[in-house]
Amino acid sequence: MTELQQRLATGKGKFTPLYEELDTGPVSYEDSISPEFFEAEREAVFRRSWLYVGRSERLPRPGTFFTRELNGLASIVVSRRKDGVVNAFHNVCAHRGNKVVWQEHPQEESKGSCREFACKYHGWRYGLDGRVTHVTNEEEFFGLDKDALRMPPVHCEEFAGFIFVNLADDPVPLRTYLGDRLLELEAYPFDKMTQHYGFSAPIRGNWKLAVDSVCEWYHPPYVHARFIDKDIAKAEKMVPPPDSYHYDLFTPHMLTSVPGPPPLPPREPGTAGAAARDQKWVYRLFRAGLFGPDDVPDIGPLPEFLNKGKIKSWGNDQFWLFPNLSVQIWARGFYITYTYWPEAVDKHTYDIDLYFVPPKNAQERLAQELIVDSTIEFAMQDVNTIEATQQGLSTRANRQFHLSDQELLIRKFHKTVRDTVAAHQARDAKES
């Protein structure tokens, strides 16, 4: 072990055997390549889970709204009503089904601010709650019950500034769905982090394979070798030991905590040293790296729900909100959300959003820029690996695969998806 590895090691034994619901045998990846499974998953998981659609800062005032295209699921409007409450409804006109809210391109998402929504087809109007307020030439219709007409409602609830929708008829309340461990997130000052960068990538791979790629730290010395050390043998020695991580499974959600380097001490102006073609010099100059800024913003004391595994040099906590959202809270005062939107068995959209405390000066602004750029450079390296895995799996030349101890979240995550599908199908069979 290297010095770094010795410093972070905890001497903990294997994690997977601690979880009764997990075995240690080989796994199948049929759930990521079977079109039938994909359809079943859409019904059982995506049509019945709380799905994160955006931060509440996107709706700063009554009358503000945004639309979301939930591919293959729904097209919805999310708006803040006059009473301040956020609500959601299907973006479908009660007259003849036209999509009501859009600008320039009907396929694209839009946002804005208004008092009422007007359908572009025949001018019916809707309030911020989706109810019809005006029917053009109403007297020409036959027994319209105008009060009952609306864009169909979608269950919508807010938690810690995260807006969720649920397409099921009668879902459990959001807070019940999240459970005690995730409710603790409410203590985090998300609302202080309004400096927002967002990115979106189309990926030709199953969405679960993309989740897998950020659920383990087995791949960085290979996929991200150049960032760690050009010499892979050295890169392998630079990564924290497997026993330095922390895991928690609270079905259907889960958590992992990760070690990271401490920030650099403050520096006097003019002491960055001579310019060099060396990325470590760039990190020193801009006082930031993949793990965050060296000048950590003051966001108050660290809430107790973070780093529960008491990792010595804590880097971040990654909360996996089933099915497709990860909220990654970093030790150095910022957070990132990762969202995965399936489109087909072998295709999804991967959204990465980073949030910082607004910078006070150019130095802080540049540090944030470097964190963002580093995150995306790393993510770009992961994308093609996901596509390559999809290609390999879909040949079915191998049908059994092997997960190590540090891949336990992957084992758990796929099992949770499969269990959710199986439970839904069992319920369906019973009812029919």
């Binding site: 927002h196 990115f199 100059l285 750029d373």
Partner: protein, 118 residues
């Protein structure tokens, strides 16, 4: 704010950074997407030249900009800041990958859906 204003001899940067003027037309770009596209459009040697020109002035530029109000930047200050954003983007190509594109990244790309105005 127009990025292409370097006409004639007038500096479009703060006076003490006038020597960086040759880099403004290509690299003082207001959006990350434009800066990334510029990185991909350049040969590796051109990225090295840009990096080698900006890096020795970067610390001084940061210090200079720290004295300005980020919410009320003059155009020439904003251009200097954009050169530093470009330097960060280019640094991965020059120092990590030794080529403009991330190796093995194929056709992968990320669309920007949100970024700060400045």
């Amino acid at each position: 704010m127009s990025a292409v204003t370097s006409i004639g001899t007038a500096s479009t940067l703060p006076a003490r950074f006038a020597d960086l003027e040759p880099w403004v037309a290509d690299w003082a770009r207001p959006t990350r997407q434009e800066r990334y596209d510029m990185r991909l459009s350049k040969k590796y040697g051109e990225l090295e030249e840009f990096y080698d020109a900006i890096a020795p002035r970067a610390e001084e530029a940061i210090e200079y900009l720290n004295g300005r109000d980020l919410d009320d930047l003059a155009d020439d200050d904003a251009r200097l800041l954009q050169l530093l954003y470009s330097m960060i983007l280019v640094s991965y190509a020059v120092n990590v990958f030794m080529q403009p594109r991330i190796p093995d990244s194929g056709a992968a790309f990320f669309n920007t859906t949100a970024e700060p105005a400045v």
